[in-house]
Symmetry: C2
């Protein structure tokens, strides 16, 4: 089998763990952060530099790629890997989140979702079967079940109805997925209700998936509820790969790792980079701040990335103020390096059985200014 997931180390005083996920496009060391490449490109980051960063897997977007460039453009390339000239692992999300996040533009039925393109208003239809069909064409290593991503706030009744629809859809996804060169992950729904999350998880385990994701988080609920939900659900999860979708801040990632989670994606490092918000081991800084005007220091002395080895805060501030693209490029490189390095350090601490100690130090140093 081309796909395996092996837990290689477990922290003894938490549920934090390291593992190796093997795929036809290479191995992935977990815990892993997956840079987001919505439209078949990680914004401002050429593939050459993603490789230099050591990105082991990137995430791309079924909904966006389906609308643009469209299946017929990617088909002759045999899939997304060759289209975007990226030979390392890719995960595609199913489009459920994107289709459903534009509420006014869509209509859900048991069969699937009718929606309108955010680009030109054209009418489209995604069903679980269709979402899998497109994802098989895209050919990512890891593909996601098409789910009804529950919004927040929501009543327990609504959340239950939505979750159960997601479970029926998950079963339909499982039934039609037939591509041995990729694995399918199920998505646990149930909003912030532990009983619903448990029901969802049990149902997905019955259906059988290579890995499981936690969906419907970071959709507006208070952070404490996010954490409580992850903590509870994670205790019940089987040993396979565990992916928390769309999460999160550096502290969120550490929190999730402690609860045994393995995979993460988030637009924060890339989007923040373009807005001039940069991550350091002491917390975030805003490079546009006047205090950096003549600052000859790197973004972060502790950082080993090429940007911090070469460029000053003053120069990066100048590029930001002058609206120069190289600013976005360098900032993105630095922020992705921070996220990838964070996961590498977390993994190292787990292998050394010193994760709690590492976490204490990290939390003491990383000043939150969210």
């Amino acid at each position: 089998m081309q796909f395996t997931f092996t837990v290689t180390h477990k922290d003894t005083s938490s549920r934090a763990r390291c593992g190796i996920l093997t795929t036809p496009h290479g191995n992935i060391d977990t815990p892993v952060f997956m840079p987001v490449g919505t439209a078949g490109t990680v914004k401002a980051m050429p593939q050459e530099w993603l490789e230099r960063l050591g990105a082991q897997i990137i995430l791309s977007n079924t909904y966006h790629l389906y609308l643009r460039p469209g299946e017929e453009v990617i088909r002759p390339f045999g899939g997304l890997h060759r289209f975007m000239a990226w030979n390392r692992p890719i995960l595609t999300d199913s489009g459920g989140y994107q289709v459903l996040s534009h509420e006014a533009l869509r209509k859900i039925s048991e069969e699937g979702v009718h929606f309108h393109s955010h680009l030109d208003g054209s009418a489209h239809f995604f069903s679980p079967e269709r979402a899998i069909e497109i994802q098989q064409l895209l050919g990512a290593d890891i593909v996601m079940a098409f789910d009804d991503c529950t919004a927040y706030p929501v009543t327990m009744e609504q959340a239950a109805e939505s979750m159960r629809r997601s479970m029926r859809w998950a079963e339909r996804c499982r039934a039609v997925h037939c591509d041995d060169s990729q694995v399918l992950f199920g998505i646990v729904q149930g909003s912030v209700f532990p009983d619903l999350r448990k029901e969802s998880l049990e149902r997905l385990c019955e259906i059988g998936f290579f890995g499981l994701a936690l969906g419907g988080l970071s959709v507006g609920e208070p952070k404490l509820l996010t954490y409580e939900t992850i903590q509870k659900v994670s205790e019940w999860m089987p040993p396979g790969p565990r992916y928390v979708m769309g999460v999160g801040t550096p502290l969120d990632l550490v929190e999730c790792v402690r609860n045994g989670m393995d995979m993460f994606d988030c637009v924060l490092p890339t989007r923040n980079a373009r807005n001039g918000t940069l991550y350091t081991w002491n917390g975030k800084i805003s490079i546009k701040n006047a205090r950096y005007r003549k600052d000859e220091e790197p973004i972060d002395f502790e950082c080993t990335c090429l940007v911090c080895q070469r460029y000053s805060r003053a120069y990066l501030r100048h590029l930001y103020i002058a609206n120069e693209m190289v600013g976005s490029i360098l900032n993105t490189y630095h922020n992705l390096h921070f996220y990838l390095d964070l996961m590498a350090k977390v993994g190292e601490s787990i292998r050394l059985n010193s994760f709690p100690e590492w976490e204490r130090k990290f939390r003491a140093q990383y000043v939150v200014s969210e």
Copy 2:
């Protein structure tokens, strides 16, 4: 002396020549194309990739850097090289062209030019002395005299008056320039009038400059007049480095090289890249064209750049249509590679004494669609 210019090869059937210009930041093989880095950054091209491209020198802009980030920001860095973390040669233009290209915003006197910032409307004054002072602070290897760049169309009387002012300013620049770590170039003016160009050239030779530039070209005059002017003036020029400012298309560069010119700068490759216009050895293409929608081929099979080794036209078109920054990055890399490779091939043909033959082949293959 840190600066020398040696002509190493001369084509026997034209005035085309190769040379080596030595500077404190490294040697420059001429003929050379200088990528334009207006604001202390070549748009969409990090310094790492300029190095990978083999860019031997870049051009930056006194006017732009003076307004933003300003002298006081660059001063603590000891100059532009360290500020922008670029350790290869830099040429700064004097600001004459920029100050004068915003006609409504400036007022010329014998002393200098009062002008208003295009950024915030604030009032500023550049004199020849001030332009040199700022350029000494920026610390480029090659700096330009501050000139009154004559617009087009213009009467011979106006052109003469403007040129003679430029010559008086050139003398003042020469008089105050006192930095051994950089060399000063004079700028030949006189619009399209050979007699004025000759007078200007002779005056600059009397004053004495390390190199000479042709200014006031590509400012709206018919291309035939540009070529005629360059052809005539070039015959009278002394053997030192010869720089044609702001020129031009690939064919312009070849034409200029044939007339003994050594140095060029132009925004065309970088600006066109961002507009989706890409250079190939068969002429320009517009990557947004629908015909490239599913095109699995590289921009140019003949091109050896990293973009052409890895990415398809279809992918680059997708990035352009989706307005993705990586599209601008990859297009810029390719176009700069084309311009630098063009100069490398021209130089090679001169060294092999086969420039006219190479030029014939190039012109036969390169289809103009300007």
